[in-house]
């Protein structure tokens, strides 16, 4: 079906193109591209890499879902980066300060995280709806403020404590942990992965089977037609930003509940931007996003091995950046080719005389 080709071809083209580009960059810098890629592939079987990749996939998946919800409404929630940071620190502080039975404790932490993320997204959302402030810049500013806010919260005189060389929030007691599946020497898989899968399923159901998802997609495609069809545009913007922020709030939780049990200066940043890239790669589709998340995680974790062959591991970042750019270009190119083919087909089927301009 032409439709499938239109959907799979662009990402495939983008990946191939990026590989070629990076190969060229490697050759210029004197390294052997084939050896570099080979090392990355074989790395998967070593140590805990495979489990790490799976864990990372789950995290990236959640991030991309958060971004995708905004994208469906033509909203660019660049603020996912700040939202998950604020959610993580707030959830860590709350989680470390209360004592509840296991299971409930974990659930409370998750809920707090989602609410904090939504709250951090609420400010740009309200500004957009009431004052018409462009959400791209306001969310980027909020990202900066998030770094300051989280740094403030983990100060020793606020909520933080010093452990060795690291400042962090009080450790979350075991009742608040998320159990994982251990593979012995090969690492532990986060239990949060199942939450991620559930989120993906929920996302698909919401988008395609519920009234809310319909109104969301209709608003994103044509706000005028949606408004004539009874959809409240402002309400849609608010709700989708809040939902996006709430899901973003869960991004930091897999690592926090499954491994670290605290928020510290070693916090993993940059996942928000990766989420944007993966949502673009997967075209807001839960299956495509899953594939994109897997690819990203693979590049990240396997890329660590590049140091062993003397290749700067930043080549992975270049590859990721060029995939983003080339995938949107590829989608556009494929779309134009398909449209021209479609027009020719309709013309042939209809025959000659008809109405024109």
């Amino acid at each position: 079906m032409g439709n499938l080709r239109g959907k799979l071809l662009p990402p495939a083209l983008a990946i191939v193109f990026s590989m070629l580009l990076c190969g060229v960059a490697l050759v210029i810098s004197g390294a052997n591209p084939l050896r570099a890629f080979g090392v990355m592939v074989t790395q998967v079987g070593k140590g805990s890499t495979l489990v790490d990749i799976i864990n990372s996939t789950g995290i990236y998946y959640i991030a991309a879902l958060a971004v995708a919800i905004g994208f469906q409404m033509n909203l660019f929630n660049i603020g996912v980066e700040g939202q998950y940071r604020v959610a993580a620190v707030v959830a860590a502080v709350v989680g470390g300060s209360i004592a509840l039975p296991p299971g409930i404790h974990t659930l409370v932490i998750i809920i707090v995280g989602a609410l904090a993320g939504a709250a951090w997204a609420a400010i740009p959302a309200i500004l957009k709806v009431t004052r018409g402030v462009n959400e791209v810049i306001s969310t980027i500013m909020m990202n900066g403020l998030a770094i300051g806010f989280s740094a403030y919260l983990i100060r020793r005189d606020v909520f933080g404590e010093l452990r060795g060389n690291n400042i962090r929030t009080p450790e979350i007691p075991e009742s608040g942990w998320m159990p994982g599946i251990s593979f012995g020497g090969s690492g532990t898989m986060f239990g949060f992965l199942f939450v991620a899968i559930a989120l993906g399923v929920g996302y698909w159901i919401m988008m395609n089977r519920t009234r809310f998802g319909f109104e969301l997609r209709a608003s994103g495609e044509s706000s005028t037609a949606a408004s004539a069809g009874g959809v409240n545009a402002k309400k849609m913007v608010l709700v989708s930003m809040l939902l996006s922020g709430a899901i973003a709030g869960l991004i930091g939780l897999p690592e926090m509940l499954g491994r670290d049990h605290t928020f510290s200066l070693n916090f993993t940043a940059g996942i928000g931007f990766s989420g944007i890239a993966i949502a673009l790669l997967g075209r807001n589709h839960p299956g495509g996003i899953a594939f994109g998340a897997l690819l990203w995680a693979f590049l990240d974790k396997s890329g660590l091995a590049l140091d062993n062959v003397g290749v700067p591991r930043e080549i992975v970042t270049i590859m990721q950046g060029s995939i983003v750019l080339s995938v949107v270009v590829a989608y556009e190119v494929v779309r134009r080719v398909e449209l021209a083919a479609e027009q020719r087909r309709v013309g042939r089927e209809l025959g000659t005389v008809g109405g024109a301009a």
């Binding site: 998802g213 495609e221 044509s222 037609a225 027009q343 000659t352 024109a356 301009a357």
Partner: protein, 526 residues
């Protein structure tokens, strides 16, 4: 009344098009078109939407190249590769949809692209002021275009072509956006320029105006020339039949099905412009009963669109009430109004009626996402939507390969039939139909009229807005005339003629017993 003294028949004709043919993938837009425009005359080109007028003008203006045929200007054969070539030959185009940049000044808009003629400073300013006099534009060239009204913007467009030395001016549907007084001013300007030797090619489907201003008329239908006519002797109806090619379908209704039950009751509706300076809707009272079609006649831009959008809840009125049966809708949103039983056929189906990239069954849900058969509570019922879409496709004769095609793949007429079918399917008590057969082929038009008549007989109340006077007269039980945001006259469809309605619409007052004025219209009121 046109001045035939300025038409010089011994000079070579200003423009001659011979055998013009143009094909696009899947469509033949123009086929063997012939057109002769004499120097100094106003030559009208008439045809329906989709007849090929725009393509022909694009060819004359150099935006498209013809596949076959020749163009002669002042007796010499020419070939245009770009609009610049046409401009050099003295041909200027005043587009229907103005090509102006709001945030730039009049001067900047005029000199853009022609900076080498008089620079962009004082010299250009002088030249513009000189030429402004000819067009009746009385505005400082340093004014931002966004501050100008529609008629002034049109004058700037004309100024643009004069600045570049045009002698043959193409006017593409110039009166579509003007109120009657502005139309008269435009015609005066045109006649004045005619005396100075300019030639005009006037594209329109408003037959009364064509007969008022043109020296000769060429009719084009389905991409080819049908014939010419003398505006002084031909009637609008004859012209219309030339344009359509057969007996016009007549929407005349016979017996009255009007009941006493009031469905829509609008009282004192008022809507001001955003800066609060002028009323867009000025104290509108309107009643539509079950089984009644109320038609609203009026030149575009007098508030009809805003009236419909306010009733639908897409705009919030400043004051006044809207009641549907006994439900007060005034404070409710669009969705609640739809659920209360309003169906809405919007005038622009692409912007307000359809999601073009989505399949037909997905579009069925739009507006109905809270009701059966397309939804159950918070869940969508895609099977129900698909089944009902199949029903609409067969009942309303929507020509489509299937219900999974994107809406954009359908022709205008079929898209409209789909919209009509959808809006009639929620068992509405009120149907708002805004220009329901605009841009729709004759067959679809007949079907839509039938469906409206059938629903009306079953007790539906219909509010009909249309620029097609025959459609209004044929379908309506009552006709009201809207002018400057007010309902100013009632007309009796069984006795009124299009001419009567036309003069009431233009503010000239009632010229027959069939039209009763209901409000005083003052000249120059604004």
């Amino acid at each position: 009344m046109s001045s035939s003294t300025s038409v010089r028949t011994d000079d070579p004709p200003a423009v001659v098009l011979t055998g013009i043919t143009k094909r696009f993938p899947g469509v033949v837009a123009n086929s063997d078109v012939h057109l002769t425009v004499r120097r100094g005359e106003v030559h009208a080109l008439c045809g329906e939407n989709g007849a090929g007028k725009s393509t022909l003008m694009k060819i004359l203006y150099g935006m498209q190249a013809p596949d076959e045929g020749t163009i002669e200007v002042n007796g010499e054969q020419v070939r245009f590769r770009t609009p610049s070539d046409a401009i050099k030959a003295g041909i200027g185009m005043v587009h229907q949809h103005f090509m102006l940049a709001d945030n730039l000044t009049v001067q900047e808009n005029v000199v853009l692209g022609a900076e080498s003629l008089h620079g962009i400073g004082q010299k250009a300013r002088k030249r513009i002021i000189e030429l402004s006099g000819k067009t009746g534009l009385n505005v400082d060239p340093g004014v931002l275009v966004e501050q100008l009204g529609v008629a002034d913007r049109q004058r700037v467009e004309i100024l643009k072509v004069l600045y570049r030395g045009a002698k043959v001016i193409i006017l593409d549907e110039p009166t579509a956006v003007l109120v009657p007084q502005e139309v008269n001013e435009l015609f005066d300007t045109v006649r004045g320029m005619q005396e100075q030797g300019y030639t005009f090619l006037f594209i329109s489907h408003k037959l009364d105006e064509v007969r008022a201003i043109a020296d000769s008329v060429t009719v084009i239908r389905r991409g080819t020339t049908v014939g010419s006519a003398d505006p002084k002797t031909v009637s609008s109806r004859q012209l219309a039949e030339m344009m359509v090619g057969s007996e016009l379908p007549s929407p005349e209704t016979r017996e009255s099905t009007v009941t006493d039950e009031v469905v829509l009751d609008v009282k004192g509706l008022k809507l001001m412009t955003p800066d609060g300076s002028r009323p867009i809707l000025d104290d509108v009272d309107l009643v539509v009963r079950s089984g009644e079609v109320v038609g609203i006649a009026g030149v575009e831009g007098n508030g009809q669109t805003e009236l419909v959008e306010t009733i639908m809840g897409m705009r919030r009125a400043g004051s006044g009430t809207i009641t549907l049966q006994d439900k007060d809708l005034t404070k409710l949103g669009t969705l609640a109004r739809r659920e209360a039983g309003i169906g809405y056929i919007p005038e622009d189906r692409h912007r307000h009626g359809l999601l073009l990239t989505q399949p037909l069954w997905y579009n069925r849900i739009l507006g109905y996402q809270t009701r059966k058969p397309t939804s159950r509570g918070i869940w969508l019922d895609t099977d129900g939507a698909k089944r009902d879409t199949e029903r609409i496709v067969s009942e309303f004769d929507v020509r489509t390969p299937g219900i999974d095609v994107p809406a954009a793949a359908l022709s205008g007429g079929n898209q409209q039939k789909l919209v009509v079918g959808r809006e009639l399917s929620g068992n509405p008590v009120l149907l708002i139909a805004s220009h329901p057969t605009r841009g729709v082929d004759v067959g679809a038009q007949a079907l839509i009229w039938d469906e409206i008549k059938r629903a009306r007989a079953a007790g539906l109340a219909v509010l009909l807005i249309s620029a097609d006077l025959d459609e209004l007269i044929g379908l309506s039980d009552t006709i009201k005339v809207m002018l400057r945001g007010r309902l100013v006259a009632d007309a009796d469809p069984s006795t009124v003629t299009p001419e009567d309605l036309g003069s009431a619409m233009t503010g000239a007052g009632s010229t027959s017993a069939a039209v009763q004025e209901t409000a005083v219209v003052e000249e120059g009121e604004n």
